[in-house]
Amino acid sequence: MTNVLDVDGLKRSFDDLVAVGGVSFSIEPGEAYGLLGPNGAGKTTTISMVAGLLESDAGSVSVAGKLMTTKSSDAKRAIGLVPQDLAIYPDLTAAENLKFFGSLYGMRGASLNERIMTVLEMVGLSDRADDRSDEYSGGMKRRLNIAVGLLHEPQLLILDEPTVGVDPQSRNAILESVEGLSSRGMSVLYTTHYMEEAERLCDRVGIIDNGLLVAEGTRRSLVDSIGQDDTVHVTATGNLHHVAELLRAVEGVVTAAEAHGVVSVVVDRAAIRLPSILATFTEAGVSVVAVEVSEPNLEAVFLHLTGKALRD
């Protein structure tokens, strides 16, 4: 069976800045694929090229066997894009927004109306169909944003960080919708910088940093690839950057990085190394607020591969 998506050697620079530096991956029918990477990693740029919104400098994209360019309507029919920022008219109702976008795909009349009801059902907005979308909560707007991408029954749904800036409850609703779609056989390309989302939703994950895929695989295989290392998260106040530097010299520590008041330390065995890790904090004159040890996960993989913390 042909892949739903084949991305091969995709590159794109903005002036001197290499946003995407040669990315290749494929998505099989029914598969949910996650692009996991921090801010500025090149996720949106990659997706813009996949969706035919941005010309690539090199490489190719084909969707369901059709070559994607900025002008190819066949390939575009096969994808549904849910952009990172809301792309709906706030002064129109959900139904009017959907009708508008549906007509851009050439959908009309009763079949369009039926389809509008179906997608509103899918994202749980049926009872608010005739309310203006600027009266919606942030989470509801995001769900409408997703519904637009589903309207024309695409083969591949592309979601670009759909949960950014959303409260936990709405976030959960969005994740459930995507899980539901995925379980019904929809192929999904999902970008995020939340490790938990990638773990929960995606069959396979590509880890992207600085415009390059640094690793790819199932959650299991990625985690296994870094061995049985544990991750220790230390919440502390003080010069954490300096502490992270000191920690990298501590025996048993694979790597350490700091972000937003938390130092993440990848270590061979947390139980044995914890005292010396904490001693390093004391030496640096940094007071520790909390310590948390976690099993190997994608965040640890990212830290391991890039030496950076995967947090915003």
Partner: protein, 383 residues
């Protein structure tokens, strides 16, 4: 078909905004009314006069007419005639320089009377003649008496006065019939066409803000991720702005026709002007939408540009009043050509054929503006 869906949504969004409803539906009609009242002198017809300058008899005539009519003095008769033609005044009386002297010399003074060929003009003429007779009659009679009876003019005047008081005053009662509530003298004609021109362009041009909004909202980008091509998307947006501008024009056309009985001349000609001029507005909106980045900036500049061009092009003050150098500048604006096309239809009874040159100029404006706009927009939206 897809382009029509985009255009339909543009209209839907226009009408969703309550402040737009005011500016599209209420404001233009209010201005037509106000301008009609100003230039057309409220519901009281205005008579223009020239050559009064301190002449006592002419002054008497004017005083008599002043009771029932508005009076406006003109310096020269050409300006006065133009004012009749454009409907600022209903009629003009041109007094000779030496009216009193002529009358005192016993000669018949020649007084010019110019009006439009409608029934109200005839009514004013009757009133003017009666005023002339009442003002000049006694003097003429006294002159005749003094000459035939060989008495002094003073004595003759007393005799005539006495005779006049002996005659019972004859009152002429005038009545009108029919529902002439707003139909008065076509006083709204000028205001209506110049306001139509102003508002078609204004409403079209402020549509540039909606275009930029679509881009800021990311909707334009999303549209390009669908099967609609960039060309279709741009065409749809043009169609939307055009639809909005043409709607504005037809709305003013119909409301002023029905409510104020405005004479628009050849209806097909009027419609063609609205279509062509609306496209100029839509094209300008596309250009603004491509050039500006911020919708509020574009909205503000659109209003200023639309009002400025309207003023230059004769939609606020008629170009005929401009100096000749300003008149040549006015010809640069598309408004001038639209206004002149309406003048051709309404005042010179032209047909579509007579305004073909005007329509051609407007079409040329649209083509130039659209070409630049599409070239810019394609760069902006597919960046």
């Amino acid at each position: 078909m897809t382009a029509f869906a985009i255009a339909r949504t543009a209209l839907l969004r226009l009408f969703r905004d309550r402040s737009n409803l005011f500016f599209v539906f209420v404001f233009p009609i209010a201005l037509v009314l106000i301008i009609g009242a100003q230039f057309g002198g409220g519901f009281e017809p205005i008579i223009g006069v020239t050559g009064v300058d301190g002449d006592p008899l002419a002054g008497d005539v004017v005083d008599l007419l002043d009771a029932d009519y508005g009076i406006r003095e003109f310096d020269d008769s050409d300006a006065a005639v133009l004012a009749v033609e454009r409907g600022y005044v209903s009629a003009v009386m041109v007094f000779p320089d030496d009216l009193s002297a002529e009358a005192l010399a016993g000669r018949d003074p020649q007084i010019g009377f110019i009006t439009q060929p409608d029934s109200s003009g005839q009514a004013i003429r009757a009133a003017a003649e009666s005023a002339l007779n009442r003002a000049i009659g006694p003097t003429a009679a006294a002159v005749a008496v003094s000459q035939s009876q060989g008495v002094s003019l003073e004595q003759a005047e007393l005799l005539v006065e006495g005779a006049a008081s002996a005659i019972a005053d004859v009152d002429v009662e005038t009545r009108t019939t029919g529902d002439a509530l707003f139909a008065d003298l076509g006083q709204f004609d000028l205001g209506a066409s110049s306001q139509l021109v102003l508002f078609v362009f204004l409403t079209g041009l402020v549509g540039s803000a909606a275009l930029i909004q679509s881009r800021q909202l990311g909707v334009t980008r999303r549209m390009l991720s669908t099967t609609a091509s960039a060309r279709t998307v741009i065409f749809g947006e043009v169609l939307g702005r055009w639809g909005v501008a043409v709607f504005q024009g037809i709305y003013i056309l119909i409301v002023t026709l029905v409510a104020f009985r405005v004479d628009w001349g050849d209806p097909i000609g009027a419609l063609m002007i609205v279509l062509c001029f609306g496209l100029v507005g839509a094209s300008a909106a596309m250009l603004f939408g491509a050039v500006f980045k911020n919708d509020q900036q574009a909205g503000g500049i659109s209003v200023v540009a639309a009002l400025g061009l309207a003023a230059l092009g004769g939609s606020m003050v008629p170009v005929e009043i401009f100096s000749s150098s300003m008149q040549s500048i006015a010809r640069i604006t598309p408004h001038y050509w639209a206004n002149d096309a309406f003048a051709e239809l309404v005042r010179r009874d032209g047909s579509v054929v007579d305004i073909l040159p005007h329509l051609g100029v407007l079409a040329a404006y649209s083509i130039v503006l659209l070409t630049v706009a599409i070239w810019r927009l394609q760069k902006v939206i597919t960046r």
